[in-house]
């Protein structure tokens, strides 16, 4: 009933997980002999870091063997291709909070690591300006999903950041009401008739008008324009965070209360609390001056951004980033797995192994394949 939050992700690095399994048996025997093992470790001369590196390499080697065995046909052209792959280098991938983004960025990072041998650092940070600044400063190289049409222009103009094509996902923003309202008031989904229902949405917060719960700060919002254009008797309330919106919708659905708010897909919350979209007349977005008023949110093809440094580096990662493209269904599959309790790494690995054709299309031109 309640919004399922994303699973708690372990902060333990991957190598440690591998090493844990590797060392568990040995450790279980030794706790009583701490001093002795101390001496042993000292004689061995390797500290935990070195041991971990070895363990990871061993485990990776085992995995590779296990994977290659059943696919003998593919194995014949593998060696020569791998020999051609250029040195990838060190790159930073921006990580944003929403789960759909996590899915895309994790798959991209893991393909880059496993197929191209890139050293990818994933950097958690706020979207938009913050990330563009980081790209300009050189600490982040890739945004795999950006919703804001052109808000990056200033950074592009200065030369450090470039658009790197669409990622294949299509975002749909809209105004929503809980499903029960659409059932009780069938024409409420027609935005132009919203005024008839404005009274239902009045709260102490909205100053006698209907409350129009607007999207969080970083998101593309045009609520004020829509209200003006249709002369709606509604008052924009800036919710300030996605948590606030989800809270509003959850309570509205559970307690059969009215509520009109901003939401978007792809988003997992829509699978848990049924919402109903309020549609406004579509608008011709070719004429941007016209579009500023009478409109609904358009479908947004989501954009990849990359640093000029990466795109001009000749690194195979640049090719991978430019080629990366998948559908809403793909992203939702990985996002759902993450929500179901898998770590992002596990979810990405499952999708990658089930979709090698797609992945290999991304890898075209790099000389590598999965």
């Amino acid at each position: 009933m309640h919004y399922q939050r994303p699973p708690r992700t372990s902060v333990t690095p991957k190598g440690i997980q591998v090493m844990r399994n590797h060392l568990r048996g040995r450790l279980a025997v030794l706790p009583a002999l701490a001093a002795a093992s101390l001496v042993l470790a000292a004689c061995g001369g390797g500290d935990v870091n070195e041991a971990a590196t070895e363990a990871t390499e061993e485990a990776v080697a085992e995995e590779t063997v296990a994977e290659e065995a059943p696919e003998e046909e593919a194995a014949e052209d593998m060696p020569e291709e791998e020999a051609v792959v250029a040195d990838c280098g060190d790159w930073g991938v921006a990580m944003h909070a929403w789960v759909g983004y996590t899915a895309s960025a994790q798959v991209l990072s893991d393909v880059a690591r496993d197929a191209l041998g890139c050293n990818i650092e994933q950097i958690q940070l706020e979207e938009a300006g913050v990330t563009y600044d980081a790209m300009e400063a050189g600490s982040v190289d890739v945004i795999v999903e950006d919703w804001g049409g052109g808000r990056w222009q200033e950074w592009v103009d200065r030369g450090a950041v470039q658009e790197a094509g669409f990622n294949g996902n299509v975002g749909l923003i809209g105004m929503y009401v809980p499903q029960w309202m659409c059932e009780e008031y069938p024409d409420i989904s027609d935005g132009t008739k919203l005024n008839e229902y404005a009274e239902l949405f009045v709260t102490p917060e909205s100053g006698g008008k209907g409350a129009w719960y607007e999207g969080p700060p970083g998101y593309t919002t045009i609520g004020e324009k829509i209200i003006n254009a249709y002369d709606l008797n509604f008052q924009v309330i800036n919710t300030g965070s996605e948590a606030a919106l989800i809270e509003m919708f959850t309570q509205a659905a559970e307690n059969q209360e009215p509520g009109l708010g901003y939401f978007y897909e792809p988003q997992n919350f829509l699978a848990q609390v049924e919402l109903c979209r309020v549609n406004f007349p579509e608008n011709d977005w070719t004429d941007t001056a016209e579009a500023s008023g009478l409109t609904d949110y358009p479908e947004t093809p989501l954009v990849k951004l990359a640093t000029t440094e990466l795109l001009e580096s000749g690194s195979p990662f640049a090719t991978l980033v430019s080629n990366f493209e998948w559908t809403n269904g793909d992203q939702n599959a990985v996002a759902a797995a993450i929500e179901g309790g898998a770590t992002p790494e596990e979810a990405a690995a499952d999708w990658i192994s089930a979709n090698t054709d797609t992945v290999n299309m991304w890898l075209e031109g790099t000389g590598a394949s999965m």
Partner: protein, 654 residues
Amino acid sequence: MSTLESLPAWMRKRSTLVFAVLGVWIVLGTVFSGIHTLELSTATNTPVTDWFRELAASIRGSRAESPLFVYFFNPLRGAIEGFIELIRALIAVPASGNIIPVIGWLGVVALVGYIVYASSNWRTSLLSMGLLTACGMLGVWTYTMDTLAMTIGAVLLSLAIALPIGIWAGLNDRVMAFIRPVLDLAQILPTLVYLAPLALVFLIGIAAATIATMIYSIPICVRITAHAIRSLKAGPIEAAESMGSTRGQMLRKVQLPMARRTIILGINQTTLAALSFVVIAALIGAPGLGKPVIEALTIRNVGDGVVAGLAVVFLAVMLDRATTAAVQHSGQLPPEGAALVRRRIGLVIGAIATVIAIYLSRFQLWAAVFPEELVIGEYIANAADAVTEWITSTFYFLTIGLNENFTIHVLNRIEGLLANTPWYITIIAISLLAAIIGGRFVAILSAVLLGAIVLIGLWNDAMVTLTQVLIATAIVMLIGVIMGVLAGRSARIERALKPILDAGQTLPAFVYLVPVLALFGPSRFAAIVCGVFYATPVVVRVVADGVRGVPSDMVEAAVSSGSSTTQVVTKVQLPASKRSLLLGANQGMIFVLAVVVIGGFVGAGGLGYLVIVGQSKPELQGKGLAAGLAIVLLGVVMDRIAQAGARRNEKKPA
């Protein structure tokens, strides 16, 4: 005021005047409601906010070229980042390609334990080690170490700057007079306000976060250090002077040793301030516990936020107890005889054990990475989720009803008066009130600063914020006085309240933002509740202190003359601690302002929302910066009125 003296006595009474102004204001406000309210939609910029936006863009554009950046800001950023990364590499983050930092968890626990033991006693040392281990068991070891590293780094840098300035200001009246206004301003600056400008200059990241933390903690340290030097008794100094000591000798041999206790107390306060700020600084990229705390808000995840918040509290308790114990220890005489031998043996054994622990933590996995088998964070997170869920589902109708009634009958009316009245009437009314409470100077200052907010173009949003601050402060005072009196009168209640107050003061406001949101929905009332949570502990402390400070013979005289408990409280203890009450009100208001601004995250609108939206929407960045400035102006107006009122009260004979 001289003009008032010509008036008859009843008109000179201040409360009468206050009510008269309020009455006229309400009448005018009702008649002219909705006219000239200067309401502005969020997406609209004003000339001033446009100017800020262009300024921000030009700063961004010149980061790579302007000499100021190339030769000053960028190297400074690099140096600070390098320094903090050094500490992080030691205890928090592995170097590239490695899996553990230089010292693993067991080593850190042992090292902290040893440092605390060496500077105080074994009991505090055990407590510190226990609390650190508890952070590991919460499953947030790496985050905790990041926060600890950031705090240590920021404190060291702060002390390097603040101690010399504080000592100088303690010795030199002119220096003190010069920096006092800066210290005053720093104290009322809401934390959220200077994050954005710093991020603009230093980029999001460790450097900006560290500098922001320093701006917050340096004034505290300067103030206490200067106070420590100033409040020394004249006797020993004069004696040293008469013996012909140079100024340097006197400082080193007499003044600093004598002021040592207070200075260490200052370090204690600086450390706690830095810790609480490092958590907030996650908004501009500080690594550590602030990250899960803020993520808990953005993706609505109470459990993980509570777990991280608990770790912040543990860390705060540890740092507080360790530094407090060090203060006490430094005041004690050195041990003698058997005690000295025992202490020395303890130090040697401790040193050996620490070295072994550090060694183990580098070579043994169980000592390097906190064992997952011991982590119980998830259970606590789930329990916190369940409790929140239960409270929400059980009390939702009650709390929503409370919210609605309060909003309609109190909040909307007061906001209507402040924000929905023509702006010039509100400014005149506030200035008149300032004149009555604080005098002519404060009245002029209020009018000028409020006028500046009008010029910036954010008047209406400022009044929305002011409404929330005033209401929250009133509630805080009500609760704070009741609890403060109880705690001031009974040592038992005080002891029972202490852990709650401690936790309340260190728990980051973001942690309870989400549960409050669940209970009250996205609303201004939610922000007010958060402000009340945050500011009440301070007010309780100050009031309890005041009540305890009332001379006991006054209380006894009242009791023996047959006064009831209520009479003793209302007729003796509260009037006698009036100064503490006013101080508490002022402190409470400043604390409330800091949090009500964060209320922008839960639908409270106002200036706080503009600051937040300015961080994430480039086209509104100028508006966000301007909103930050407006918050500062608002804070100065409120602080000056309250301070001036308190001063005048003192001057008047009781």
